[in-house]
Symmetry: C2
């Protein structure tokens, strides 16, 4: 069970944009340099965040990104969902209705008990992530980190 490596990029990109004064934009190139990651690959992730309504902006050479909503309105679950990471990792293929031991359809009117257990665990995971906002993450960062990130990203702005 693995989330894409780019999950970390996405979480940090949104968190760092949320540290800038409201309305500030940063380019994909700035973010790539800030994190030391490949620009074209990061741009693809940023485009997913735009499609998911988390960022606004464009991916062109003069493009810039900003938050599409207040950081208080952005949960970590939404960010993970934007990179296709929030789907239930367990897939029930109704094994109980296959093979020699196949249960009769009339004994399968309720969801498979094992699938239900897996689903409840996934719901607990989602609930945990949906309870944390980007604003809460930023609020917990050391003042030195905030100051440095603002200085670096606003200085290098076009």
């Amino acid at each position: 069970m693995k989330l894409p490596e780019t999950s970390e990029w996405v979480l940090h990109s949104v968190a760092v944009i949320a540290q800038l004064p409201a309305g500030s934009t940063v380019s994909g190139a700035q973010l790539a340099e800030h994190f030391g990651v490949p620009g074209p690959y990061l741009s693809k992730q940023l485009a997913k965040l735009v499609r998911a309504g988390i960022l606004t902006g464009s991916t062109g050479p003069r493009g810039g990104f900003r938050l599409a909503r207040e950081p208080e309105q952005l949960s970590i679950l939404e960010l993970i969902g934007a990179v296709d990471g929030a789907a239930d990792p367990y897939v029930c293929r109704e094994l109980r209705q296959q093979g020699r031991g196949a249960a009769r359809p009339e004994d399968c009117t309720r969801p498979c008990a094992l699938a239900a257990v897996m689903r409840r665990a996934h719901d607990a995971w989602r609930e945990s992530l949906s309870g944390v906002t980007v604003a809460q993450i930023v609020a917990g960062l050391p003042a030195e980190v905030l100051e440095k990130n603002r200085r670096l990203l606003l200085q290098s702005a076009r």
Copy 2:
């Protein structure tokens, strides 16, 4: 984020063995036929359950499997863990310490706040799965299902 397809096989295999009278054994071939899945591939999963101390038995042509512990002592988390499905899906590569924006080591004495959020969600997932035992799954099955599974698997026993 995906669990292996064989997670479903493993959960159902252990659940069906737990439905048999204590001490009964079933072969990998019986289970493969019961579920209509490829025998050699299922055998690999059963071997993992043996290595994890969930089943005892052997994988040979005359091999048989039984529970290594009481079903009250077997959590769903352990079964998923046996097929390498219980590791944290989020990997923190300390992105905050990379690139032009790298935070100073002295500002990173606490775990990354984003990694901590992901870890808490995974802990919630684990806690949910560890709270359900194989015995509870079996106790919730319709009597007709239990009776049928016992009849099929004990009849065909060597």
